[in-house]
């Protein structure tokens, strides 16, 4: 079966200086929802725009549905749907007029009515784009991508800046598209979005893939499924490494005076931890345990948080 999206050793250098993408390879199967997760400036947008055929890579190969942008640009445009990061559509057109305009570019578009219902925009069909809320505008942006009846959908940060309800609405739309057999490639810096929506992920940092797999895989690979966080009163905390010798601990790190332990079996770690605290004659200021998340994976890999300002 031909891969939906494939790229090998992609590189992009701006003005011969800034290296936005540095040897990035991906293979996305048809029907998959694949996520590029990474902080701002990691090279996600550059990567997705190269895959969308909007940017020329400095070097590397791209193949979409088994075809290359260089030779099959026109056919490929018919087969993919794109939502860019922040497109401000014409404010003086109505929702319906906007969808019809985009539909007119394709030889076989879906009917406007169908797209309006699928994106829950029926009520707003005669409203001017300028009068829509942020969530509605973003749904319209996705509608202009889905009107193509695409086989591959590219979404660059589809839910950035949206309220929780609008985000969930968009997730449902993306899932429905995937359910009908579509392939999705999206970029995000929201780990919850990546965890809930994506079958597989590539974590991107400094223009490279630093880890790849299903969300569960990636967390598994971290070592433990659990995170134990604690802080002590006074300065009995000491070096993070000193806590790594506790039973069932895979790694330890100090985050602003809080020790975070990646733990396989908390019921073995916690009694030993309490004993240690006693021995140091210190007192616990806080202690909690939680499921490990992609954020922990990212911090473990890079030593930084996803959403550092």
């Amino acid at each position: 079966m031909t891969a939906a999206v494939e790229c090998r050793d992609l590189r992009k250098t701006y003005d011969g200086k800034v290296e936005a993408v540095r040897g990035l390879s991906l293979l996305i199967e048809p029907g998959e929802c694949f996520g590029l997760l990474g902080p701002n400036g990691a090279g996600k947008t550059t990567t997705i725009e190269i895959l969308e055929g909007l940017l020329e890579p400095t070097s590397g190969e791209v193949s979409i549905l088994g075809r290359s942008w260089k030779t099959h640009s026109r056919e490929l445009r018919e087969d993919i749907g794109i939502s860019l990061q922040e497109t401000r559509l014409s404010e003086k057109l109505t929702v319906r007029e906007t969808i019809e305009l985009f539909a007119s570019f394709y030889t076989q578009p879906r009917s406007t009515h169908e797209v309006l219902s699928a994106l829950q925009l029926n009520e707003k069909s005669e409203a001017l784009v300028g009068n829509l809320s942020g969530g509605q505008k973003q749904r319209l942006a996705v509608a202009t991508a889905l009107v193509a009846s695409p086989r591959v959908l590219f979404l660059d940060e589809p839910t950035t800046g949206l309220d929780p309800q609008s985000r969930r609405q968009l997730w449902d739309i993306i899932r429905a598209f995937q359910h009908d057999g579509g392939t999705v490639l999206l970029t995000t810096h929201y780990m919850d979005e990546a965890e809930r929506l994506c079958d597989r992920l590539a974590i991107v940092d400094h223009g490279q893939v630093i880890a790849e797999g299903s969300p569960a895989d990636l967390i598994e690979r971290l070592g433990g499924h659990h995170v134990v966080e604690f802080a002590l009163s006074g300065n009995g905390l000491g070096d993070a490494a000193a806590w790594q010798s506790l039973p069932s601990v895979d790694s330890a790190r100090n985050e602003d005076g809080v020790i975070c332990l990646s733990v396989r079996e908390p019921h073995r770690t916690i009694p030993a931890l309490l004993e240690q605290v006693d021995q140091r004659s210190a007192q616990l200021e806080r202690l909690n345990t939680r499921q490990a998340s992609l954020e922990d994976v990212f911090v473990n890999l890079t030593g930084r948080h996803l959403r550092e300002d």
Partner: protein
């Protein structure tokens, strides 16, 4: 016909593989339609493209109108002989050109100061008057000559020489006749540069251009739709301004309407090309606004919109005649006011075509969709 064909399965009907729903020109038609809707809904566009030039024509047309036989207003100082002087003025051949009032010293001095009166006549005796006026004011100098002439004639002076005058204020030679074709040219330049240049950079800044080229849209369709919207607007602009000139100022149009429209189209396309060139790289509307103003400013002044470029030195005129707006204005004036044909204006038309073609070719080389 098989049973399967009669009852297509639900799955098939979801993804119809019939003949293409959209033809070759579907994109172009929708782009043009969307552009026209946007323009219609943009109140500022309607004002600047249609209302503003009419207001300009109205304002300038009235300010520089040929006043019906200039009337001068004078004050006669109240006194025993005032009534007699007033009678002389009113019985003179120039009585329609002079409005005289009898007022006291204070009123007369104030009126002269404020420009209400051009001249004060002070009767000293029944056959002796003294004039008061400021020789720096041309209308006062004029008034003095006229009133003096009127009084002398009314009092019985005999003219030695017989003279007569032929007045020229025929439609075609007035300021408004000069102005309307100039405004038309300027308007075509303004709306061509802004309508194309500004619109494109705005779309680029909104990432709308990038979004469009991410679809199978033909880029040539997009540019053609933009040009077509300009041509449609051009016809309305020409019709409005000329219609206004004909109705309000009884302008006489000697050239054929089709020739004027052809010239208008040439101007619209030429300035559209220039607009495309200014917009080819700019990423922000602020930078393209500056660029457009830099391109247009010299032509507002030099190209004979409000006054003839004959006032500039001859050496500069050679250069001025190579500007696209000069060529357009000259061609429009020759056609509208003198009824010249297109064939007789190949020079001007070549200038317009050259500007349009060169800027369009450069723009295609440099234009950035993203």
């Amino acid at each position: 016909m098989t049973v399967a064909q009669q009852t297509p399965s639900r799955h098939e009907s979801q993804k119809p593989m019939l003949a293409p729903r959209n033809g070759r020109w579907s994109g172009f038609r929708h782009l043009l339609g969307a552009r026209m809707l946007e323009l219609k809904r943009e109140k500022e566009v309607v004002f600047w493209v249609f209302v503003f030039p009419l207001l300009l024509a109205l304002g300038l047309g009235f300010a520089f109108r040929n006043k019906p036989a200039d009337r001068t207003t004078i004050a006669i100082l109240a006194g025993p002989n005032a009534a007699h002087i007033l009678e002389l003025v009113q019985s003179s051949p120039q009585k329609h050109a002079i409005r005289a009032e009898i007022v006291d010293d204070f009123q007369a001095a104030k009126g002269l100061r404020l420009g209400k009166y051009d001249l004060i006549v002070e009767p000293i005796a029944s056959d002796k008057v003294q004039y008061h006026y400021d020789p720096a004011r041309p209308e006062s100098v004029q008034s003095h000559i006229e009133v003096d002439d009127a009084l002398e004639t009314a009092a019985g002076r005999k003219d030695v020489l017989t003279t007569s005058v032929i007045v020229s204020s025929e439609p075609g030679s007035r300021y408004i006749d000069f102005l309307i074709p100039g405004l038309l040219g300027m308007n075509l330049m303004n709306s061509g540069m802004w309508g194309i240049g500004f619109a494109l950079v705005d779309m680029r800044q909104r990432k709308l251009l990038k979004r469009f080229v991410a679809t199978p849209m033909r880029r040539s369709d997009f540019l053609m739709a933009l040009a077509s919207s300009r041509l449609i607007l051009m016809v309305i602009e020409v019709a409005l301004l000329l219609g206004f000139g004909i109705l309000m100022f009884h302008m006489r149009v000697l050239g054929s309407f089709s020739t004027i429209i052809l010239l208008g189209a040439l101007g619209a396309i030429s300035f559209g090309g220039l607009g495309l060139l200014t917009a080819s790289r700019a990423q922000k509307i602020e930078s393209v606004s500056g660029l457009i103003n830099i391109v247009m400013m010299p032509m507002w002044i030099l190209s004979g919109v409000f006054f003839s470029y004959e006032r500039f030195p001859a050496t500069v005129q050679t250069f001025i005649k190579l500007l696209p707006l000069t060529a357009l204005n000259d061609a429009l004036r020759a056609t509208i006011l003198e009824g010249s044909s297109l064939v007789s204006q190949t020079g001007r038309i070549s200038v317009l075509v050259a500007w349009g073609a060169v800027s369009f070719l450069l723009a295609l080389r440099w234009f950035r969709w993203t």
